[in-house]
Structure formats: structure tokens, C-alpha cells
Symmetry: C2
Subunit: 197 residues, 2 copies
DNA sequence: CCCGTTCGTGAACCACCGTTAACATCCCCG
DNA sequence: CGGGGATGTTAACGGTGGTTCACGAACGGG
């Protein structure tokens, strides 16, 4: 039971297996949904039988939980740090956030998909923890949007934030239709136009 | 085996049970995902035991299939008819499409959620049929966007269309935060700004 | 009034899948 | 060299859940 924190330094310490499994699982979960993917499927994807996974994860749910927690942490950490690293011009901060979200969505379409589809498959506590992180990330956006739109209240800016997420996170649906640079530029321009409307 | 077309006139002919089941199932599927919802759950939601559902549907998958087909048909039909009923000013057509999609998304957040989450839980043929309808609906948008952006190719406008869908379909995430009129106006304004960016 | 259709019930069946157990391998460290 | 931890394998267990079956009640028309 000394495994609670292994997740924190997992990818740094060990480049293999456990990480392979998480990556393969993310891909499969995104394609079919976590409930439709069997432990054997995940195992097969990394050249191993199903039960072997239990040498690396306590359960299938624990896999999903770690996946979603990592995503939420990366988004929150990346968002806050980039806003902090930008001057206090609201529009500059907004552009930074948009660029970050676009890059993330283009780099990890599978994670984006799993992130907002399989939250419901988590235990109550884990789901709550993920939601806490998500909420804090949304608040980063709401703060910036609040300075871009001083006339709007927080509720309005929350709707704005979710709308922009929806726009940018459409990458799984339009993957590979255009060269990445073009897609990134287009989505960023659309997101900025939407966020400032 | 004379049931292939019952779906077409189902809601018109019979206001009850079968429709109750579909509505309840849509709600439950949206909340937890179709795989996580048992036949007994759906039955209980309409005051009936699980197996009773098989008096109205051939299988659980058939339920989901009919649900997704109806959604896709409603969108395609509504989109094409409204565009046809609008003059040939591209911007007017675009605004009509946006208003239609916003209304649909605000009226049926559950259907929106199920629509792009549980497609993978369908048999190959049914999934293909739904995708055909979706594609045709996207093409309606792409055509209009093509006249708004004569400089862009179809691939670019497809990405645009998906981005706008993502924006508008964020309603399940921001449900009830603002009065409906406000949300509708905000989303429409954002969508138009994004689509014309 | 009675028969067939419709709609429902509870019990049982069966396949699938997450999980555990018992047993091999490999490899590094003392 | 020898033993123990990490990593896998196969077989088996057990619960869950979709589906079927045999049966009952309501009900409308000949």
C-alpha cells in the first residue's frame, strides 16, 4: 500500500511498461470508451496478457483514475504557470491560454476524448478530485475572461470558458484533415474571436 | 419482422411507453453512459421491470441505434429545411444554422451528450448509417461556410464546422448557469464570431 | 362471453470480464 | 552461486447484466 504517490514520479523514473500501459489504454479508451475495453485488450496492446496489468495497477478503475488525474493536473499546472509567466495584459493572457489549450488538444486528442467522456466511470471520491482540478482550471480562464469582459459576471464567463473548450477540443473530430500548423492557427483565431465576442 | 419502419411514425402514432422508454433511456445514457446503464435501470425509470423492454425493442443496442438515428435525422432535416427556407445570403443562412443548432443543443443536452459519446457502442452497420447522416449534416454547414469564406477549401471549412459544433454543444457543461435566453444569445454571438473569423 | 393480442412479471440461462491464485522466469545483489 | 523481488502466464472464481422462457392479466372485438 505504499503506492499512493508512485504516480507522481512515474513517468520520470520509469520510461517503460507502466507508462506503455497508460498510453495504450488512453488510446483504446478514446476509441471505444473505457467500459468497452477489456483488461485483455489493454494487455494485448502492449504485448502482454490481461492479468499482467495488476502488477502495475491496483485495478482497471485505478488506471482510469490516474489517467484523468494526470490530464487535469497537466492542464491546471500548464494553464496557471503560463498565465503567471505572461504580463498582466488580459488579451495577452487570453492568447497564451488559447495557444496552450490548442497545443494540448492537438497533441493529445485521445486524452481530450477520454477526459470528458469517462469521468462518470470513476468512484465518487476520484471523480470529485478530478472535478476539483477541472474547476480550478476553469477558474483560471474565468479570471482572465473577467478582465477581458469587465461588464460580464462570473457565470457568463464560465459559459464562455466552456464554449471555448468545446471549440478547441473539437480536435478529435477534425484530426488530420489539415496540416497541424494550419489547424492550430485556425482554431486559435476562432477561439480568440469567440472569446472576445 | 414488420417493424423496420415503426421508428418513422412511432412518436406520432403512440404517445406512450415506447416513447417514454426512449426518453428515459436518453436521460440515463447521457448521465452515465449507455454501457453503464442496465436494462433494469431503464425499466425502473418508467415504472416497469427490465425484461419488459423487450416488448418494445429488439435489444438494448436497437434502442441506442434508434435514438442516435433519430437525432441525426432531426439535425439533418432541420438544418437542410431551414437553409432552404432562408434566402441565398450566406450570412443569413449561417445565422439560421447557428440559431437552429443552439436551440437544439439547449433543448436536448442529453441527446447531444449521447450523440457523440456512444456512437462507438453501435454495430458496424448502424454506426455507419449514423455517420452518413452526420456527414450530410456537416456538408450542409460546409456549403454555407464555403460561401462565407470563398478563399477557404472544403477541408478548412470542415474543421470550422466541427469547431462551431463543439462550441455550441458545450451546453451540457454549462447547463442552467444562466437563463436560457442569455445562454442562447451568448452562444449564438460566439458561434458567429468564430465561424466568420 | 370468449378468444387472441398486447403488455407485463419473475426465474433462469449464459456469456463476458474484472480479479485473484498458484506457479514459472529472469535478473540483480549479497 | 543462491535466493528474493519484479514481472508474466494460465486457470479458475464470481458478479453483473443482457436475453429468453413460461406464464398471467387486461382488454377489445366477433
Amino acid at each position: 500500500m505504499t503506492d499512493t504517490n508512485t504516480a507522481l514520479h512515474a513517468d520520470a523514473a520509469r520510461p517503460s511498461r507502466r507508462e506503455q500501459i497508460l498510453r495504450a489504454a488512453a488510446q483504446l479508451f478514446a476509441e471505444r470508451g473505457s467500459r468497452a475495453v477489456g483488461v485483455d485488450d489493454v494487455g494485448a496492446a502492449v504485448g502482454v496478457t490481461g492479468p499482467a496489468i495488476y502488477r502495475h495497477f491496483a485495478s482497471k478503475d485505478a488506471m482510469l483514475a490516474e489517467m484523468l488525474l494526470r490530464i487535469s493536473e497537466r492542464l491546471l499546472e500548464g494553464g496557471t504557470s503560463r498565465v503567471a509567466a505572461t504580463g498582466d495584459d488580459p488579451m495577452a493572457q487570453l492568447r497564451t491560454l488559447i495557444a496552450f489549450q490548442v497545443d494540448f488538444a492537438l497533441d493529445n486528442p485521445a486524452l481530450i476524448t477520454v477526459h470528458d467522456r469517462d469521468l462518470g466511470s470513476l468512484s465518487a471520491e476520484e471523480a470529485a478530485q478530478v472535478r476539483r482540478l477541472q474547476r480550478r482550471y476553469v477558474e483560471v480562464w474565468v479570471d482572465v475572461l473577467g478582465r477581458v469582459h469587465p461588464e460580464s459576471d462570473a457565470a457568463t464567463n464560465r459559459v464562455r470558458a466552456h464554449a471555448v473548450f468545446g471549440l478547441v477540443n473539437s480536435t478529435p473530430h477534425s484530426a488530420g484533415r489539415l496540416p497541424r500548423r494550419r489547424t492550430a492557427a485556425l482554431l486559435a483565431a476562432m477561439a480568440e474571436a469567440a472569446a472576445t465576442a
